[in-house]
Amino acid sequence: MDHSVYIPKLAKIIQVKEEVGGARAIKTFRTVFANGQGFDHRCGQCAMLSVFGKGESMISISSSPLVKDYLQFSILKMGRVTTALHEMEVGDLIGIRGPYGNGFPIDDWKGKNLLFIGGGIGLAPIWSVLQTALTRKEEYGNLTLIYGARTSKDIVFKEELADLKKKMTVFLSIDVAEPDWEEFVGFVPQNVSDKKPGPANTIAITCGPPIMIKFVIKALKDLSFEDEQIYTTVENKMKCGIGKCGRCNIGLHYVCKDGPVYSWAELKKLPQEY
């Protein structure tokens, strides 16, 4: 039989970048597989990261599949495993198994405008699509990002975003006014309503806290987006990643295997179990 589906491959951390400090710290890690044998992933897929002795945690892969040199993960410090990950340094070994999940149907989106809407750490799952679309800009229409965080300090990928502004439309927001902030102040859904992106030939991809997603969808619906034009990702507690351990299901869907990417048309038919 093949190597067990539960055995992670060893990977070395080659870069650690602190995105956000404080109580809700976020760090971005880049890893390479120890023996060179990696895997190909699709945009929006996840991987199960291991810190041996602590356990595993399902994290979305934020690097584009077009990048072959490393895998990138942006991780919010939340529990036992992610706290241990935050304590790791360049050169440390972790385990990675995957990739898991369905990923975004980006091939279906060719020729369309892509509207990315993210909040907080929610930029990470859509970052891989965004980067892929940016690399293959000629294949897609207009690219727009609407992204917000609680405060300017909570914004992830700060340098990348500054760079991104030169290449595509980027609207940023923070929840509460700050002295030096020149962009939108308010919640992400409000920024969406404010910027009024048009639904014509557009796919909206949103990820962030559940409450944000809920109101972003409402805002998009108000702007006449169809359910099929809206994509989001969901997360649930996971252990196996392969649809067997039984805890991440929403109705008969296992998020680890059948998700995490859903169009709103699909998701709204499923029970509210996330």
Binding site: Y6, I7, G53, N236, K237, I242, K244, G251, E273
Partner: protein, 350 residues
């Protein structure tokens, strides 16, 4: 093939199977039956039903996935990860009730598919199931006839024994089953016509003794359930639930699990990654690290148990993930009766 085995020869048959570890029901220091390794002095098959189903032998409570060891030599860290697949240990389980064997075949489905579970299959492929047809329902809440099963169902079994008084009617169902019989050829006799008739009669009689039924059949019930996801029924029916793990851990088809790292030594770091049983009735089963819980109350957890068995599984595999063994009903400390709940679902709105 069909054979006859004198009851007094059962012991001799087991002895012939010396390259297998043999499990048979025994009393383990209490009133209940459970599988134990059969000793030479082992009892026959005069048991009712094991409290823990055969599941527990192919999908044990604890399964080591891997071992890890971190060593530091001259400031160079190395991390070794070794896969631990269960080794060679062929097993014959005697005295598997048909419902429990059918449940194993459900587990076979779950642990196959896009991702094949090597730990499960390492055990499963080495396991031969010798069933014993029920002549009397072992639990008063048996309802296998409502789950496409029967007290003499053959699905999942390698051999089916039927008790004919002083002898067993033996029916082999797989190559493995034939192998077991062929290893002790001398002990088995050809059945006479009247033996076959008698076995049939025992089977028919047993079916008559099963009194409990679920009102609606598989697809009909699944469809009805689907419409009742948001019903207040779940609140009412789960009021007395104490959120223990009896209904799931003792269920022959429940298979949910947890994976944890067990650290044996901190420095050098040494330990194991281990799978253990887990279940949908525990609140921490679905609780996110953030504290958010998609199934925060007893109602949503009872609903999950029944939906998984009678709705989701039916949609995915066209089977109910329940074989009607009746354990969850008979052993529930507060008398939650899924037949009763399912019938309320059936009657809902009518």
């Amino acid at each position: 093939m069909e054979k006859i085995l004198e009851k007094r020869s059962l012991q001799s048959w087991m002895k012939k199977l010396d390259s297998w570890t043999i499990y048979a029901p025994r009393k383990d220091g209490s009133e209940r039956w459970n599988y134990g390794i059969a000793q030479n002095d082992s009892v026959g098959l005069n048991f009712t039903v094991t409290t823990l189903p055969a599941k527990a032998l192919v999908f044990p409570q604890r399964e080591v996935f891997l071992e890890f060891l971190k060593t530091v030599e001259e400031s160079q860290e190395t991390l070794k990860v070794n896969e631990v697949i269960p080794g060679k240990n062929p097993v014959v389980i005697f005295g598997v009730r048909p419902c429990d064997a059918r449940a194993v075949s459900l587990l076979d489905r779950v642990f196959s598919g896009d991702f094949v579970d090597p730990y499960y299959w390492a055990r499963r492929k080495q396991t031969v199931l010798v069933g014993l047809a029920c002549d009397t329902p072992p639990w008063e809440n048996c309802f296998c006839l409502s789950t496409e099963g029967s007290p003499h169902s053959e699905e999942g079994l390698d051999v089916l024994l039927t008790d004919l008084g002083d002898k067993y009617f033996v029916k082999t169902l797989t190559e493995n089953g034939e192998k077991l019989v062929n290893l002790a050829k001398g002990l088995f006799k050809e059945p006479r016509l009247e033996d076959k008739k008698k076995a049939k009669a025992v089977h028919a009689e047993a079916e008559k003794k099963i009194v409990r039924r679920v009102k609606r059949a598989k697809k009909d019930l699944a469809a009805k359930l689907k419409g009742l996801f948001d019903s207040p029924l779940w609140d009412d029916e789960s009021m007395s639930c104490i959120r223990c793990g009896i209904c799931t851990y003792l269920c022959p088809s429940c298979h949910c699990f947890d994976i944890n790292d067990e650290v044996d030594s901190v420095s050098p770091l040494r330990g194991k990654r281990v799978r253990t049983w887990d279940n949908c009735q525990f609140p921490d089963f679905t609780m996110h690290s953030s504290g958010h819980n998609p199934r925060p109350d007893k109602a949503s957890r009872l609903r999950q148990r029944l939906f998984h068995k009678f709705q989701y599984f039916v949609e995915i595999y066209d089977k109910t993930m329940c074989t009607g063994c009746g354990r969850c009903i008979s052993l529930c400390p507060v008398g939650i009766d899924i037949i009763n709940v399912l019938d309320k679902v059936s009657d809902h709105g009518s």
